[in-house]
């Protein structure tokens, strides 16, 4: 205040540089420390007043949050699904078992002899013989075709030898050689390495992963545009306030601030909402996944979003909200007329 008075009394100085002017006016509010405190106060106040405004006029912002929460939960739910399938196929990798489907004319006794001779093979750890009857019983139990199968006159299922290679045999070439030697036996109809369908499943998971990645990029763009649009509507409804603030000396940064916080809050709450939706879905799925896990004798347990993933989701969404708001304001502030 004393400064200003001094300014008033002193005679017009020669033309000053614009830069100097700026420094002078920004310091007019008191010491630098006062300034910093006031600045922090302002930020906190604006942060919560923009939240307050969202709650006071909930319609458009809540609609936006709901729409975004659902879309984000779709994408992150898909991501969780892919992660879970990946885990499943990861577990299956260890079961590199070979199944030999024997020809129909091979008798039980012959099959038994064959299984013993295979057991003596140094590259084989264990052989399990599944008779036609056992196979049928098992099929009945898991397929749900129980009574339909009872009407069959002949058992269509072949005898199966399940062979577990030695643990030392881990390379693909060795397994393929072993498979080939079985394939050439006259009793064997089909020799199948179970690894093959695991590999196929893994390939599908790879595709799903790429798809999830693309989905997330598209979704980020959607978040950006949807939040940008909501902020734009908010900006229009507060044009008078913006114009008046400008007229009493508000910088663009000052005007932008509450809108950036609005974008932040929308992004933040959308991500939190999405997290709840995904977690809820996983809780609902838990029972059936445990049953599935039992079928595979596996130690598969359902994976939820981890803490780092959750933090990433929330911060990415919040940042996208701020960026969307910023881009919109950049264009809107340029075109705002002051009358």
């Amino acid at each position: 205040m004393r400064r200003v008075n001094k300014n008033r009394i002193k005679k017009d100085p020669p033309i000053k540089q614009v830069k100097q002017e700026k420094r002078q006016t920004t310091l007019a509010g008191g010491t630098l420390q006062d300034k910093l405190i006031a600045y922090r106060e302002l930020h906190t106040k604006v942060l919560f007043s923009s939240l307050g405004r969202m709650i006071a006029t909930p319609f458009s912002s809540i609609m936006t949050v709901v729409v975004l929460a659902i879309s984000i939960s779709l994408a992150s739910g898909f991501y969780v699904l892919v992660v879970n399938i990946h885990q499943l196929t990861g577990n299956l990798e260890t079961s590199n078992q070979i199944s030999l489907f024997l020809r129909d004319e091979v008798s039980d006794a012959h099959a038994k002899k064959l299984s013993e001779s295979i057991h003596n093979n140094p590259r084989v750890q264990n052989v399990k013989l599944i008779s036609k009857e056992q196979a049928l019983a098992e099929f009945k139990e898991y397929s749900g075709f129980g009574s339909a199968i009872n009407t069959l006159k002949v058992n269509p299922l072949p005898i199966v030898l399940q062979i577990l290679p030695k643990n030392t045999l881990t390379d693909k070439q060795g397994l393929a050689d072993l498979l080939k030697s079985f394939q050439q036996m006259p009793e064997v109809d089909i020799a199948q390495l179970d690894l093959q369908w695991v590999e196929r499943l893994q390939a599908i998971v790879e595709v799903a992963k790429v798809f999830a990645f693309i989905m997330n990029i598209l979704l980020s763009a959607a978040v950006l545009f949807i939040i940008g649009n909501t902020v734009r509507l908010e900006f229009y409804s507060r044009r008078a306030e913006v114009a008046i603030s400008k007229l009493v000396g508000a910088t663009n940064a000052f005007i932008r601030r509450p809108f950036l916080y609005t974008g932040f809050w929308i992004g933040f709450f959308s991500a939190v909402g999405a997290w709840f939706i995904v977690t809820l879905i996983m809780l609902i799925l838990r029972g059936s996944v445990e049953r599935l896990s039992g079928l595979y004798e596996g130690d598969m347990h359902l994976l939820f979003l981890t803490i780092p993933e959750t933090l990433f989701l929330i911060s990415a969404s919040s940042i996208l909200g701020v960026v969307g708001a910023w881009v919109v304001l950049f264009y809107e502030l340029r075109s705002t007329k002051l009358q």
Partner: protein, 218 residues
């Protein structure tokens, strides 16, 4: 403090609204801007606030050529000027207190300083006790005085007023003019647009008269 040099303002639709305006207001000087309705008074004041730019000529405020000032520097120039608008330009969804506090918050004043200054400014325009009211719950004259309080709250070196007493009774008008005189005495430059002839004759200050966009007395 405020220099106009051959300023022309032309609108596409209405043609030349201000023609070749030149005048010079010294620091601490007070002047009235008069003229018939549509003479261009508000337009001239809008050029000072850089709500619009002039078509030709030069306007210098506090040694800065307004046509050379960059967009990003405008806020800092506007903070030197307290503006009182013909249509008040108040925020109707904010209280009287918040309206008056706006320039201080924008300039980054702390909470206590804001409180103190807002109360002082409201007292000067005889509006103490109305802090918590909303503008639309006030009379026209009261709204006008909120606008005046907002213009003077950060003690700007320049005050520009467009019909500041348009809605006030003679007594309140005299009070507001007194307030302006006090500011003038500590060195504030004041330009008041009005067609209130009695007010002008009372104060015996410099008069700038516009007729169809031309300055006839200055």
């Amino acid at each position: 403090m405020i220099h106009f040099l051959n300023v022309i303002k032309r609108y596409e639709e209405t043609g030349d609204v201000l023609r070749n305006i030149s005048f010079n207001l010294e620091r601490g000087e007070m002047a009235f801007l008069t003229g018939h309705s549509g003479a261009g008074k508000s337009t001239l004041l809008r050029l000072i606030a850089v709500m619009e730019r002039c078509t030709r000529g030069q306007i210098i405020v506090d040694d800065q050529d307004l046509s050379l000032v960059k967009e990003s520097q405008l806020p800092f120039i506007r903070r030197k000027m307290g503006f009182i608008y013909q249509d008040y330009k108040l925020l109707n969804d904010r209280t009287v207190f918040d309206n008056v506090a706006l320039p201080l918050i924008i300039a980054g004043y702390g909470h206590q300083e804001v409180n103190r200054r807002v109360r002082a400014a409201l007292e000067k325009v005889s509006l103490q006790g109305k802090e918590k009211k909303f503008p639309l719950a006030l009379s026209g004259g009261e709204q006008q005085r909120v606008g005046i309080a907002r213009a003077v709250v950060n003690k700007p070196p320049i005050i520009i007023a467009d019909e500041p007493t348009g809605n006030l009774d003679p007594e309140l008008s005299a009070e507001i003019m007194n307030l302006f005189r006090q500011f003038q005495q500590v060195g504030v430059t004041i330009l008041i647009a009005t067609h209130d002839v009695s007010l002008i004759s009372q104060l015996n200050q410099r008069v700038l008269k516009l007729v169809h966009g031309q300055l006839v007395v200055s």
